[in-house]
């Protein structure tokens, strides 16, 4: 390589497409004059052509299959994370629902065993039983929780019972001889016994509330 290193460098720059127009014309002129550099240039060009013709290879059979069989199964947590990212509204709804159930069950659990009665003065409490005395008319809704209700008089309103039942006036009055009709409820009677129904009742009320707006 007797010729100027400078030109060899320029040849490489040219091959990399990294040469200024000025240098390029300089190189071209030099190549026309210098046989040595010309030979070098041709050899390099030929080398590149030869490299490009090198043997091509194909991946072994079933390569893709093998890769796919060896992929790690996604971690479950990852799958959930991905799912959450893709369904933000469902996630929000689920969280909302959970919180609601949580708050409902906490109200449900409050004072589980205590008898709770609505505040009408006419109601008489006898142990676990709430009595609407005979001949008395109770105004407004009656609400009894964790107790039974015996209606001898009349309730002018809805009756709601939680964890309790409406006692049959007949059986209570057996000893009392023949009685005319028992009292009545002039309104809806609703008995709620189980947690589920309790929740259902609240959800219903909640939505009633929402939709009245």
């Amino acid at each position: 390589m007797s010729c100027n290193e400078k030109y060899i460098k320029k040849i490489h720059d040219y091959l990399d497409g990294d040469i200024s127009a000025e240098d390029e014309s300089l190189l071209k002129r030099h190549l026309e004059d210098c046989e040595e550099c010309q030979k070098h240039f041709h050899e390099l060009n030929r080398t590149i052509t030869l490299i490009r013709s090198a043997e091509r290879m194909e991946a072994p059979d079933h390569f893709t299959e093998n890769v796919m069989n060896n992929l790690p199964t996604e971690k479950k947590s990852m799958r959930y994370k991905r799912w959450f990212k893709r369904h933000p509204i469902l996630v929000a709804a689920a969280i909302f629902f959970l919180l609601m159930i949580g708050s409902l069950s906490s109200t449900f659990n409050q004072g589980t065993d205590q008898l709770v009665v609505s505040t009408q003065e006419e109601l008489v409490v006898d142990g676990d039983t709430v009595i609407v005395p005979e001949g008395v008319t109770v105004q407004g809704d009656v609400y009894v929780r964790n107790g039974d209700l015996l209606v001898l008089g009349t309730v002018n309103g809805n009756v709601t019972l939680f964890n309790g039942e409406l006692l049959d006036a007949e059986s209570q009055l057996e000893g009392g001889g023949l009685m005319a009709s028992a009292g009545g409820v002039n309104g809806e009677l609703e008995t709620v016994d189980q947690t589920f129904e309790w929740i259902w009742y609240h959800v219903k009320n909640f939505f009633k509330g929402v939709f009245t707006f």
Binding site: K9, H40, L50, A54, R56, A59, F63, V67, R82, R86
Partner: protein
């Protein structure tokens, strides 16, 4: 094709594992070939190429879709081949640099007396011969020559794949070309 791959990658990111098989099928020959040329051993090449695809799958979330997937994939594959070469027995390596020289190694010290191809070489034999000559290059030149002329990456992309400054890529491709020129001049 770029668009097709891009679409598949997005599907894979969303958790569609089966979309990845199209990606593998598209790149398998290229990546396998790349690994084979780097390692010179079919068994190892298959091993490493598989590993490269698996790594790509596992780390797919860290891939930025706005960039070229092939560059990213080759980078993974190249790093794995380099690791594998390092782990090989620390025998005497011909392509270890000779101390006190810049980029020179024992190959350059050897007289080029390798067998010459016959005059009427069949083209397949010639291709094999060229492959052999490329495989004799020191790995740092070999990887660049391969990426440039067999995989047709630009110098800038090569600098990204190998994580080497652009200037170094240029120096190495010059040297690699010169080395091959000497080896292939008699063909």
């Amino acid at each position: 094709m770029e668009q097709f791959i891009k679409k598949k990658i997005i599907q894979v990111k969303k958790g569609d594992q089966s979309a990845f098989s199209d990606v593998v099928a598209f790149y398998q020959d290229k990546i396998y070939q790349h690994c084979y040329r780097m390692l010179g051993n079919k068994h190892e090449a298959e091993d490493i190429a598989q590993e490269a695809f698996i790594r790509a799958y596992v780390n797919i979330d860290s891939f930025d879709e706005n960039r070229k997937f092939s560059t990213w994939l080759y980078r993974i594959a190249t790093n794995l081949t380099i690791d594998r070469m390092r782990k090989r027995k620390p025998d005497f390596h011909l392509d270890a640099e000779v101390k006190g020289t810049d980029g020179l190694d024992m190959y350059s010290q050897l007289a080029s007396t390798e067998r010459l191809p016959g005059e009427e070489v069949e083209s397949r034999e010639l291709q094999r011969y060229i492959h052999h000559e490329i495989s004799q290059l020191p790995s740092k030149y070999r990887s660049i020559i391969m990426l440039r002329y067999l995989e047709e990456f630009s110098l800038k992309e090569i600098s990204e794949i190998l994580d080497v400054p652009l200037g170094t890529v240029k120096t190495r491709i010059h040297r690699g070309r010169e080395a091959l020129r000497k080896r292939l001049r008699h063909v």
